[in-house]
C-alpha cells in the first residue's frame, strides 16, 4: 500500500477551497448524522455528501482500493452486527418476520433491514466527506490549517512534520524488510499470535530505533533555528472567501437541523416503507 500523501483532487472545486473548510465539513457532517435511526434523515444528508464528494474531483482509479477496503469492512460490520446477529439493531415488537437467520436465530424484519441500511449509509457517507481531507488538502497546508483552527502552533507543526515523515518511514520499513530477508528473515505463518508478534521484532524494532536516532538530528536542527519562539509565521496565508462561507453555512444549517430533529424525536424511529 502506498502511504505517501496523495494530492488527487488538484484543480477541483474543493481543492480551491480553504483547507480549513475541508477539515470542518466532516465534523459538521458527523454531528448531523450521529444517532439518527430514520433512513430518510440519513438519505437527506447523504445527498449533500454525494454532491460534496463529486465536487472533490477525486479520480476513481486513484481511490478504488481505498473504497474497496472501506466498503468491504463496512459491509461485514453492518451485516454481522445488524442482520446476522442482534448486536446493533432495532426491532419492532409486532413487525412481520421476513426470515430467521439459521445459527443465530436472529429474526429479520423490515425494521432490521431499514436500520442496517441506515447504518451502512451513515458510514459510507462519512467516508465520502472524509476522503477530501486525505486527497484534496495539499500536505504542506495541513499544519497551517490546524494552526489557524486554533491548535497550538507547535502541535500544528507536528501534524505537518508527521506527513513529511511518512514517505521516509515507509522507505525505511521496506529497506529493513529487504535487509532482514537477506539475513534469512521470514515472516511467521504460525497461527499463534504471540509467535507472530515475536517474529515481527526484527522489523519493528530496527525501523523504530532508526527513526528515533534520525529524529535527534531533526530536534537539534529545529532548536538551532529557534523553533518554539513566541510568534510563529507561516508561508501560506489562509483566508475564507464567500464560497467557503456558503459551503460551511450549508453544512452548519444541516447539522443544526438534524440535531433539532433529533431532540424533537423526529429521527429516533426506524423508518419502514
Amino acid at each position: 500500500m502506498d502511504v505517501t500523501p496523495r494530492y488527487l483532487g488538484a484543480g477541483s472545486f474543493l481543492s480551491r477551497r480553504d483547507p480549513r473548510l475541508l477539515l470542518l465539513v466532516p465534523v459538521l457532517y458527523l454531528v448531523a448524522v450521529a444517532g439518527i435511526d430514520d433512513l430518510r434523515g440519513v438519505l437527506l444528508c447523504a445527498a449533500a455528501a454525494v454532491v460534496y464528494y463529486r465536487a472533490a474531483g477525486i479520480p476513481w482509479r486513484g481511490v478504488r482500493a481505498n473504497w474497496a477496503v472501506m466498503l468491504a469492512f463496512t459491509t461485514v460490520l453492518v451485516v454481522v452486527n445488524s442482520i446476522l446477529t442482534s448486536v446493533d439493531t432495532r426491532s419492532a415488537g409486532d413487525a412481520e418476520v421476513l426470515f430467521t437467520v439459521p445459527v443465530t436465530h436472529s429474526a429479520v424484519t423490515w425494521t432490521t433491514l431499514s436500520y442496517a441500511a441506515t447504518i451502512f449509509l451513515r458510514y459510507t457517507t462519512l467516508a465520502m466527506v472524509g476522503f477530501p481531507v486525505a486527497f484534496n488538502i495539499a500536505p504542506s497546508d495541513l499544519g497551517v490549517a490546524f494552526a489557524r483552527l486554533g491548535l497550538s502552533q507547535r502541535l500544528a507543526y507536528g501534524v505537518d512534520l508527521t506527513f513529511r515523515f511518512l514517505p521516509s518511514t515507509w522507505a525505511s520499513l521496506q529497506e529493513t524488510v529487504d535487509a532482514q530477508r537477506l539475513r534469512g528473515y521470514e515472516h511467521s505463518r504460525s497461527r499463534n499470535p504471540v509467535k507472530r508478534l515475536i517474529t515481527l521484532g526484527p522489523v519493528v524494532l530496527p525501523v523504530t530505533v532508526n527513526a528515533l536516532i534520525d529524529a535527534e538530528d531533526t530536534v537539534n536542527a529545529m532548536d538551532l533555528r529557534g523553533f518554539g519562539g513566541r510568534h510563529r509565521t507561516w508561508m501560506r496565508e489562509l483566508a475564507f472567501d464567500r464560497v467557503d462561507y456558503l459551503v460551511l453555512a450549508g453544512f452548519a444549517v444541516m447539522a443544526a437541523a438534524m440535531v433539532t430533529a433529533k431532540f424533537l424525536g423526529l429521527t429516533e424511529t426506524v423508518w419502514v416503507p
Binding site: 472524509g130 511518512l166 518511514t169 508478534l197 527513526a211
Partner: protein, 187 residues
Amino acid sequence: MNADATTPREPVLAISSRTVVFGAVGAALYAVLGLFSFLIPGTQAVAVRPAFALVPFFGKRFGVIAGFFTGLVGNMIIDLLTGSGLTYWNWSIANGLVGAIAGLIFAYMPPIANEAVRLIVTALGALLATALGLLFVITDIWVQGIDFNTFLTLNYGPALLSNAIAVVILTPALDALWEPLSKRTGR
C-alpha cells in the same frame, strides 16, 4: 545503569521541539506499521496491530503530549489511508489517551534500577494505560447507539485483548532497546 533515564526533566505537559518531533515520528511510525495487522484465529474480528505497542512506548519515553500525539494522529492517518475517514474519531482519541496515560504513569513512577523489574513494570504500565485509555470507546454507546453489553463484548473486550498482546510483548522490547541509546544521547 542510570535509573533516572525516564525521569521527567521538564513539565509533564510542556511542548518543546523534542515533544513535537518525537510525537511526529511516533505518529508516522504508527501510521506506517499500523497498516499491518493479523487476525487471532477462532475470533470473529479480533486483529492484533503490533504497531500499537509504539503508543505507550512513546508515552513513556517522550512524555504525555508525544504519547497522545502518536496515538491520535497515527490512528487518524491509518483511518484516512484505509478510507474510514473520521468515522471512528473516538477510537483515535482513545489511542491518544493510551499514550497520554502511559506518559503520566511513568512520569510519576520512581526510578527502577533492576532491568528485569523495569521491563516487567513497563509491560504492566503499558497494559494499564491501554486498559484505561481504551475505556474512551464507551462513547460508542452515544456515537453508534450500541448498548453497554455490546460495548463490552464487541468493542472494548476484543480491542483490549488484541492490543494487550502487542503492548506486553513489544513495548518492553522497544524500551529495552532504547534505554542504552537514550543514555548515549544524554536524554
